[in-house]
């Protein structure tokens, strides 16, 4: 087990290194002239001096490998520079505000996805080839095909405009304040006993979380259903039934065996979940990481874009690593195969 974990850790370090190289090249080298991008080309004003200062500040006058080493050093210390736009606010502080919001939204969405997909997948697998199964499969198909931003807008239309049950955008009602502890609004509100704010935040989060959650639950249903089907036809399930074990207990055994795959899928879907938040946060004007990223791009606020991309990717890699290790712990067969690299 230790070996397996170390092996996966080593692989993750390689991936992390590669990812920083790609981000470095995409964001620092490819635009050719990031400074020109910031100042705008063909500008009439004489910006020669400030251009040179910026280039020096970004270290663009040095050779590539020096720039890369500097870049690596900076991001590993969490120094993402300062925003070009918002009065030079450090990027790490902006991200620090946005990240807890995104994490809380993602967790909420994940819970919704599980609450929807687990029962549907069980029903679908147990009653294979019946109308229930068809319904479950159709749900999964619709879930993966529905454009999440459209679903979000339609939810706004139904539940915020036509039947004003939920708020349209933002984190909470404007007059409320939450004392900051972790930065995650519901957590902080509960910790400080500020129930009115907690309720408000929860209501603001319902529509975006449902939108995100139904989107990924389509994937979950597909995976959990097919791993349940694999388990369903194995001998030990027949043996359990033959011994007269009650059906709920049999289902519990099936779930127990289908769990490792599902856990891995959930870990690996974190990337999709975070990708989803970018779009959904824009739909609901929810000031998390995605919102920050899009604002940064529109304002050409380059350090913000870089900080968000680096952090989001690092989170996905960490989630993948955790998922793999969890898989190894839940399923003893994994260790024998010596890691789960890009194998044949």
């Amino acid at each position: 087990m230790i070996n397996f974990v170390l092996h996966r850790f080593g692989q993750t370090l390689i991936v992390l290194f590669g990812v920083t190289v790609i981000i470095f090249f995409v964001l620092r080298v490819m635009p050719g002239d990031p400074v020109g991008l910031i100042f705008g080309e063909g500008d009439d004003m004489d910006l020669g001096e400030s251009r040179r200062l910026y280039e020096e500040q970004l270290g663009l006058d040095q050779p590539l490998y020096v720039q890369y080493a500097k870049f690596l050093g900076e991001i590993s210390r969490g120094e993402f520079g300062t925003s070009f736009v918002r009065g030079g606010e450090p990027v790490i502080e902006m991200v620090g505000r946005a990240l807890p919001l995104t994490i809380e939204l993602s967790v909420f969405a994940l819970l919704i996805a599980l609450a929807i997909s687990v029962p549907i997948a069980i029903l679908s697998a147990l009653k294979q080839n019946t109308i229930w199964d068809r319904g479950g499969t159709a749900f999964a198909l619709i879930g993966v095909s529905l454009p999440s931003f459209w679903q979000g807008i339609m939810l706004i239309m139904f539940f915020a405009v036509w039947a004003p049950i939920f708020p349209v955008s933002g984190v909470m009602d404007a007059h409320l304040r939450i004392d900051r502890i972790t930065g995650a609004p519901i957590t902080d509100a509960v910790l400080t006993g500020n129930w009115e704010a907690a309720w408000s935040v929860l209501r603001h989060m319902v529509l975006p979380a449902i939108t995100l959650g139904t989107g990924i639950s389509g994937q979950f249903v597909r995976v959990l259903r097919s791993s349940l089907l694999e388990v369903k036809h194995q001998d030990f399930i027949d043996a359990l039934r033959a011994r007269g074990i009650s059906e709920p207990t049999v289902v519990r055994h099936m779930l127990h065996n289908a769990l490792p795959t599902t856990a891995v899928i959930i870990g690996l879907r974190i990337g999709a979940l975070l990708s989803g938040t970018i779009v959904i946060e824009t739909v609901f004007a929810y000031p998390g990481m995605g919102f920050l990223l899009i604002q940064g791009i529109n304002a050409r606020d380059f350090p913000v874009v870089q900080g968000v991309v680096v952090l989001l990717t690092a989170m996905v890699i960490a989630a993948n690593l955790l998922a793999d290790i969890l898989h190894g712990m839940l399923d003893p067969r994994v260790k024998l195969s010596g890691g789960t690299g890009s194998g044949a």
Binding site: I14, L141, W150, Q219, E230, T261, R269, L274, V279, V316
Partner: protein
């Protein structure tokens, strides 16, 4: 390899798949015939006829905030969506298949390096990478295509490699090699036709993802520029009028949904026809296979 692409006699599409194919053909025809069937030019504004509801005389699906015909813009939007979707699909398939083929066929250190790069690439959340690329490349169709191909080629490379690894040791490959056929001859004459089913399935599903990704990018304002009629762009401006003019956001979303679902259905259908146990099938009973299949599933962008 005769008849590999011949679907007849294998499995006739069930009614739902037939419907999906009809939907795709329908949208393709609309895209091709756009200038002929579109009732108005897509950017023709009429300030007297702003935000008219569907059913207004001459404006079947209503007009937007600038008095442009929603139906006409959707027809031209189909053009953009399908053409970019298909171009990206073809280019991604070519790049990904070539890399996967070469990696598996030559094996050794080359394979190790390529697969490490694939691992690294797949570590990125698909949309985050695409957004970052568009952000530095700028707007416009060519840049969108480049960004999407660059962020999605590993989705082809990895499954293709897995399949070629198995075919590489088959008798016909070995005998071709013994007969002195060049590596590229073997790859393109003998291996490529045999992985065609895999490529077809991946392509069909990829088309849906491309259209969804393009719509997401346009929705985020990172697509084709504000002038061009895109489904995602229409949705984005429709969001601001959701309280008063529901049709602006509703119709383009339906179009995206129909096209994406159809391409998913067609992809699933082709997969079931050819090989129910193909390597990208979601869950396999081998533990190692599970993680790999899981990662392949995770490689599917979800936007």
């Amino acid at each position: 390899m005769k008849g590999l692409l011949d679907l007849r006699g294998r499995q006739l599409p069930n009614p739902i798949v037939a419907l999906a194919i009809a939907v795709m053909v329908g949208f393709a025809l609309v895209a091709i015939l756009a200038p002929l069937i579109s009732p108005h030019p897509p950017n023709a504004q009429s300030l007297m006829l702003r935000l008219r509801p569907p059913g207004t005389e001459g404006y079947l699906l209503g007009t937007d905030q600038l008095g442009r015909d929603v139906l006409s813009r959707m027809i031209y939007g189909a053009r953009i969506s399908l053409s970019i979707g298909v171009i990206v699909m073809v280019l991604t398939a070519m790049v990904g298949v070539a890399i996967g083929l070469v990696s598996a066929y030559f094996g050794g250190w080359l394979d190790t390096i390529i697969m490490r790069i694939v691992d690294i690439w797949l570590a990125f959340p698909f949309l985050v990478l695409a957004i970052a690329l568009v952000a530095v490349l700028g707007q416009g169709p060519d840049k969108i295509v480049l960004a999407l191909v660059l962020s999605s080629w590993p989705g082809f490379a990895r499954p293709v490699r897995g399949e070629v690894l198995q075919l590489r040791e088959r008798e016909y490959t070995l005998s071709a090699r013994a007969l002195g056929v060049s590596p590229f001859g073997i790859m393109f004459k003998h291996l490529l036709p045999n992985i065609m089913p895999t490529i077809l399935v991946l392509s069909a599903i990829d088309l849906g993802y491309n259209i969804l990704a393009l719509a997401s990018l346009s929705f985020l304002g990172l697509g084709m520029g504000a002038e061009t009629a895109t489904w995602g762009g229409m949705l984005s401006s429709g969001r601001n009028y959701v309280a008063t003019s529901w049709w602006l956001a509703a119709f383009p979303g339906v179009a995206i949904f129909l096209v994406v679902m159809s391409s998913n259905l067609i992809g699933d259908w082709i997969r079931d026809i050819y090989d129910p146990r193909s390597p990208f099938r979601a869950a396999r009973n081998q533990a190692a296979g599970e993680a790999r299949a899981a990662r392949d599933a995770a490689a599917e962008p979800n936007v």
